[in-house]
């Protein structure tokens, strides 16, 4: 055995690297930190994923610092400067009310992010719980849960979200709820499929033989197996969620004017599409870029979190 100068806590910056790369962990914390570190290193080696992550960090920065970054206020109208093309003064041009589109896109980032993250935070856990429970318990629980999922999947997400918003009333919070309700079923399907592939495995049998009950097995043993693929799926779904949110905004059922939500901006820009292209194009590019970033990151996570690498 070689001697490694390892202590429980990483005291200095230099030894942090040694601590993370040590061949043998000396404490539970170190073992967990090492396993996260290895996944992070794998993710770091994936340039596409890092590009996605970079875009998302920029987006978060833009959302957080929009009031300082934006040259104009999001609602600031100047009817003398209507429908100006992109220029040094107005990078993305101005809209039909003379508002600076660049400033509106920056302010819109936080709205889009909030919708996407909230919807994912609601849909992910619901899908995971329903899928893992149905898959593990089987029998009538499985049948009932999966028929409900089938009903939800029978409608396109946007139509379903439309129906919910129509029932709940237009508005941004209702849009979040509607999108979440429309996006948990595919996650439940995925979690169930993953559960079915492990429920007969020896380590689940071994857990039953320690006397663990179904709740413990679902939460402690099955869910950790499903979480990576659910996280990946949710990340990939994020693009769809953003597009659904934009679609609801576009149809006038999400964020209401004059809120600078990208979909709503796109909807207003539509009228001017042929004469003043930048009104629709700029928020459109923003939606595209963020969707792409989430997809790139999701693909990278799939490689980094693959359970076969641990």
């Amino acid at each position: 055995m070689t001697e490694h100068p390892i202590t429980d806590a990483p005291p200095t910056r230099e030894s942090l690297r040694d601590w993370l790369n040590a061949p043998v962990a000396k404490s539970p914390g170190q073992a967990r930190a090492q396993s996260i570190w290895r996944a992070a290193k794998r993710l770091g080696g994936n340039y596409a994923a890092m590009a996605g992550l970079f875009i998302l960090i920029v987006l978060v920065g833009a959302a957080a610092f929009a009031p300082w970054l934006a040259p104009y206020g999001p609602f600031e109208q100047d009817l003398n400067r209507r429908l100006l093309p992109p220029s040094a003064d107005h990078w993305f041009g101005t809209d039909q009310l003379g508002r600076d589109i660049y400033s509106r896109v920056l302010h819109g980032a936080s709205i889009t992010l909030r919708i996407a993250l909230l919807a994912a935070a609601i849909a992910g856990p619901i899908g995971l719980l329903v899928g893992a429970t149905a898959g593990y318990l089987g029998g009538w629980v499985d049948t009932v849960a999966m028929r409900v999922v089938d009903v939800f999947l029978a409608f396109p997400a946007l139509i379903l979200a439309l129906a919910f918003v129509a029932a709940l009333g237009a508005g941004i919070n209702n849009a979040v709820i509607a999108i979440a309700l429309a996006s948990w079923p595919p996650i439940a399907r995925l979690a169930r499929a993953e559960t079915l592939s492990v429920r007969k495995s020896d380590y689940i049998a071994a857990a039953r033989l320690t006397g663990a009950g179904p709740l413990r097995i679902i939460v402690r043993h099955i869910m950790p197996i499903c979480i990576p693929s659910v996280v990946i799926r949710v990340t990939l779904n994020m693009a769809g969620i953003i597009l659904t949110a934009a679609g609801l905004g576009f149809l006038g059922l999400g964020a209401q004017p004059p809120m600078p939500e990208w979909g709503a901006m796109l909807a207003t820009g539509r009228e001017f599409m042929l004469t003043h292209w930048w009104l629709a194009t700029m928020p459109g590019i923003a939606i595209l870029t963020v969707s792409l970033a989430f997809n790139l990151l999701g693909d990278g996570l799939r490689d980094a979190l693959d359970p076969r690498h641990g």
């Binding site: 404490s27 495995s201 380590y203 033989l209």
Partner: protein, 265 residues
């Protein structure tokens, strides 16, 4: 069995029957198996794939709930579903060490869980002791399964059984996925543990060498039936009655090449 007082019998199966599926497509995996395992001894079940030997083990553990017949532990029938107290007396080691440890759980968490479920205290000491008993150093507690070799994984699986201090271990081909040199270490470990702790083993294997080495009594199974029960010595000395047992023994002991005359090119 002759001369065995009932108090000596750790485990008894009476007319065990397991059928999978129902109607026309049902398969009788285990048919009318009865046996007695004396306390502190090791009982081997040998057979080829599909003989029902593993199914017997899973029925005892309660992993197959639908069985007919009676399973008695210390003379008392064990109810189905198995109560929690059953698992602190009976534990099982699985065949594939790559499949029997949760891929995302640290060894420490694997060993901790049975203690939590059964409300046993002084956990860190017990974990360290269990690791030591299977010949691993304490720092193995902080490894994940993918950082372990096959033999180390199987030792961790054995340690998981030992933390609950059971009386009876069910061993399902515990070394068939391991290299022979690693197998030797694991078999020595199991043998030593049984002697030191007075454990009772029921071991399933397709490998005659392993079963003969590990067990005192051996039952031969084929097509769900038990065809013969014999002493390990009978295997070493080639004493058996049943034609299937004879064939199994013969082919397990080596291959006799039938030299065919050189065919013309």
């Amino acid at each position: 069995m002759t001369g065995a007082r009932s108090g000596d019998i750790a485990l008894e199966l009476r007319n065990l029957d397991v059928t999978f599926g129902d109607g026309d497509s049902s398969v009788r995996a285990v048919a009318d198996v009865s046996l007695q395992v004396r306390r502190g001894t090791s009982f081997g079940l040998i057979g080829e794939s599909g003989s029902g030997k593993s199914t017997v083990l899973r029925a005892i553990a309660g992993l197959n709930g639908n069985y007919g017949g009676t399973i008695l532990l210390d003379g008392a029938e064990i109810p189905m579903p198995r109560p929690k107290s059953f698992f602190s007396r009976v534990q099982m080691v699985f065949q594939d060490p790559y499949g029997s440890l949760h891929p995302r759980k640290m060894v420490r968490a694997v060993l901790m869980e049975p203690l939590q479920i059964h409300g046993i205290g002084d956990r860190d000491r017990r974990i360290a002791e269990a690791l030591q008993a299977v010949g691993l150093t304490p720092d193995f507690a902080y490894r994940y399964p993918h950082q372990l070799s096959g033999g180390q994984r199987q030792r961790v699986a054995i340690a998981r059984c030992l933390v609950l201090e059971p009386e009876l271990l069910l061993l399902d081909e515990p070394t068939s996925a391991l290299d022979v040199s690693v197998q030797a270490g694991v078999l020595n470990l199991l043998d030593a543990l049984r002697r030191e702790r007075g454990l009772t083993y029921v071991m399933v294997s397709h490998d005659l060498r392993v079963v003969a080495h590990m067990c005192d009594r051996i039952a031969v199974m084929t097509e769900g039936r038990m065809v013969e029960e014999l002493d390990a010595d009978a295997i070493y000395e080639d004493r058996c009655e049943d034609p299937y047992t004879r064939a199994l023994l013969h082919s397990s002991k080596g291959y006799q090449r039938k030299d065919t005359p050189d065919a013309a090119e």
